[in-house]
Structure formats: C-alpha cells, structure tokens
C-alpha cells in the first residue's frame, strides 16, 4: 500500500443558522489545499457533529456560525468530543464573532477563531501548521 496520510477535516454548521456560503467557501479552500473535507450540512446539533466526526475519523472540525450562538454551540462541540473520548479532534471556529468572545472560546478549548478579514490562505496555513494527520 502506498502510505499517504492526508489531513481530514469536517466543516460543520451548528445550530439554527442557515447561512452556509462561508462554510462552503472554506470547504473548497480546504479541498484545494489537498485536504479531505466532510461537509455536515445545515442545522446540526453539537452531538450530531461529534458523532459524524467520529465516524469519519477527522483530525479537525471547523465550525461556522453567523447567528450569534457561538458561545453556547462551539464549547458544546468541544465538551461532547471529550465525553466521547475524542478530545484529540481539534476544533476551530469562524464567522461573525465579536472580539471579546474570542478569549472565552479559546478558554473553552476552541483552538483558533477566524473572523471576517481572515484570508483563506491564513486559515489553510493555520491548519497545515497545527493539525497533523492521525497516526495509529
């Protein structure tokens, strides 16, 4: 077999938030960076996202929120990952997120937050620098 570890990520839209243009653009940027991207679809609960991420064995979950519920939803994903013995899956977030919320989210275990103004290159570079494809 040819050994070929590839970064596998999930792009997810938690909660009641129908705006997924940003998530789709990120998904494409990740694809173009050579990652395998599982897209969850809209209106997912944190538990649904975590279940899917475990079934798909992703290295990272990118959460997108434009509806203001990030302070509840993002940490809920991190907590659910830990409860399911999947704390090794990293979580990042993006969307319309006020500056003052970022430290709270990071304290809750979200590794990085990208807000409007972040370039696709920045985000891809961050993933390349911080997420390693899994090894057994």
């Amino acid at each position: 077999m040819e050994r070929n570890r590839r970064i596998r990520v999930m792009v997810a839209k938690p909660g009641l938030d129908g705006h997924d243009r940003g998530a789709r653009i990120i998904a494409r940027a990740f694809r173009d960076a050579g990652f395998e991207v599982v897209y969850s679809g809209l209106h997912q609960t944190p538990e649904e996202i975590v279940h899917a991420a475990i079934q798909e064995d992703v290295d990272m979950i990118g959460l997108s929120s434009l509806a203001g519920a990030h302070l509840y939803l993002f940490p809920a994903v991190v907590d659910s990952l830990k409860e399911n013995d999947a704390g090794d899956i990293q979580v990042i977030g993006g969307g319309i997120i006020p500056e003052e919320d970022i430290p709270k989210l990071k304290a809750a275990g979200i590794r990085e937050i990208f807000t409007p103004g972040s370039t696709l290159e920045d985000i891809v570079e961050w993933v390349r620098g911080n997420v390693n494809p899994k090894t057994s």
Binding site: M1, R6, V38, Q44, E47, E48, Q55, S136
Partner: protein
C-alpha cells in the same frame, strides 16, 4: 500505537472509533493495517452488500437515506460507504453525501463513512473492499456502497456487491450513453429516479430494450433486471426497490446455494487477482517513481532529448525483463 489484537477485538465488538481508524488506515495505505485485515477476514462474509451507483445528481444519496430509514424500521444494522471523487488537481475532496443522510447521524445502528477516490492505482476498489470487510466484521447486517458510476474503478467496486442498483434519471441523454458507460452488465436492478420528470416512460422502454438485449451476458442466469420508477425524495418507490433487492438475494441463493461470495471460485479469483495486481503495481511503481532516475528522465523529456516511449522502456525493461511487446 494500539496492538493489532486490541484493534481487532474492538472492531469485532463494534467500537466506532476503532472502526473509523482502521478505515482511515486503509485509506492512507498504512502497511500495518494489513495485519488487522488478515485477522478480521474470518469474521467477514456475513453482511449483505448493496451497491448504488449512477451519474452525479441522480439522487443516490437521497435514495440511500430513504433506504436507511426503511431498513432501520426492520431493525437491520447498517454500514454506509459513500465514495466521492478526489480532485485531480489538489488531491483534496469534498465529501458531501452525509448531508442527505444527516437525520441518521445519531442512530447507533447506522455507521456512515465518506471515502474519497484518491486516485491511486486501482486502489479505490481495494480500499473500498477492505472497508466493506471492516464494516462486515463489526457486525453490520447490510452494507450500502454508494459510488459515482462513471469509471471502471466504480464499476469494479459494485462488483463486490451482492446486488447492484443502477440509478438513472429521465432525459439524461439517449440510450447510447448508458451503453457507453458499460454499466448495464453490472446492474441487477435499475431505478429511474425523479420519475415525475418528462421522459421517464421513454427511459424505461430504452432501458428495457437494452437490458434484454444484454441479458445473455448477465451472470448466465435467469435474473431479468427489473426497472423501477421512484421519487426518492418523497419516499416513493423505495419500499419496492427493497422488495426487489430481497428477490435478487433469493435468486442468488437459488443459483449458488448461499450468499457467501467467498465460497465462489469466480469471486475469490477476481478478488485475489485484483489484490495481487494492485500490490505488484504499487511495489514496482514505488521503485520507479521514487528513484532519481525517474526525475532525470522527466527532465530529459522536457528538454526534448528523449521521447516518453523510449524513456518508459529504459525505466521498465531492466526491472521487469519484459520484451518490447510486453
């Protein structure tokens, strides 16, 4: 690093994390996973495998979603492998089939896994077959493999299914298209999805004609592939499809005595020759493309000093002792 025995035990007990990781290792081509697969093999051969294939946009994922709902109502445990293409430019992939199946994501009886085609040499067939084995060993009753039916690889994948469902929609080009794709031979059941669209009767009669002309090639048996109409999004025609799948399973039992492909020489021969071929290609290719000589040759061609025919002779002949016609 978990031990092989530990991993194997976890897979057999249905541990989702372990299963997910083994499939990842298969995908990533980690050599150690072969030991896991060897140990899992005796635990495989029980699941019923359904292949669902068809062009992009015909509604395969929606159909699979409805099939899941029906089969779960009968308390069958399910494994789903959804194969999507890898970008030939970046090597990345967007795997979106789950979107249509998201209502099943909290159901412990359903394991859904997306796989990218990756584009390695015949590797899709191999890695999908191995992933089927893993889901089989974890105890799934039914495994559904969804592929975009456009290439030989995808056709090969569905050959490992007990029943292959070919999904089409009305008005997708004339009948010649279907012949070109070479999908008629592998279809056990044909499903015209989005059947409310104009032209579904014509599609039905075109398919009927082609399939009946093709009948002689079909497994040498008496199975006449049925053609069904469906509107998967409204759950119409899905129960009928599952009935036909049951009938096809009964047919297989009536012809072969059981559903165990691994007791059939033709299937074992096919699987084994596929595996040998892939490993040979990998081993030989690794020796060639990994060598400095390969890159030097590329540059020589780019400079116009060499033609690729001579170059490939130079690379291959010393290694394989093939003659010119080989």
């Amino acid at each position: 690093m978990t031990s092989t025995t530990e991993t194997v035990d976890k897979v057999i007990s249905g541990d989702v994390r372990a299963v997910a990781r083994v499939i990842r290792d298969i995908d990533d081509g980690i050599p150690e996973v072969r030991d896991v697969l060897k140990a899992l093999y005796p635990h495989t051969g029980r699941a019923y495998v359904i292949g669902v294939t068809g062009a992009p946009g015909v509604g395969k994922s929606t159909l699979v979603d409805q099939m899941i709902a029906h089969l779960r109502a009968k308390d069958k445990s399910l494994g789903i492998l959804a194969v999507d293409p890898t970008s030939p430019f970046s090597g990345g992939a967007i795997l979106g089939d789950r979107v249509r199946m998201q209502r099943h994501s909290m159901d412990e009886g359903v394991y859904i896994r997306s796989m990218a085609t990756r584009g390695h040499f015949g590797g899709l067939t191999q890695s999908t077959r191995s992933a089927i084995d893993v889901l089989d060993a974890m105890g799934k009753d039914i495994i559904i493999v969804e592929t975009v039916g456009v290439g030989q690889d995808e056709v090969d994948v569905v050959r490992s299914a007990h029943t292959t469902v070919i999904c089409v929609i009305p008005g997708m080009g004339d009948d010649i298209q279907a012949i070109k794709a070479g999908i008629l031979e592998v279809g056990d059941i044909f499903l015209i999805n989005k059947a409310d669209r104009e032209g579904s009767d014509k599609t039905m009669s075109d398919l009927r004609l082609m399939i009946d002309m093709d009948q002689k090639k079909h497994e040498g048996g008496t199975w006449r592939p049925p053609i069904l109409k469906a509107q998967a999004v409204f759950d119409q025609g899905v129960a009928e499809l599952l009935d036909e799948i049951d009938k096809h399973a009964e047919y297989l039992v009536s012809v072969y005595g059981n559903l165990r492909f691994r007791s059939r020489k033709d299937k074992v021969r096919e699987e084994l020759s596929e595996m040998v071929k892939n490993r040979l290609i990998e081993a030989v290719m690794a020796g060639i493309t990994g060598s400095g000589e390969f890159e030097d040759t590329v540059e020589a061609i780019v400079r116009g000093e060499l033609d690729p025919y001579t170059a490939s002779d130079n690379l291959i002949l010393p290694k394989l002792a093939l003659n010119d016609t080989g």
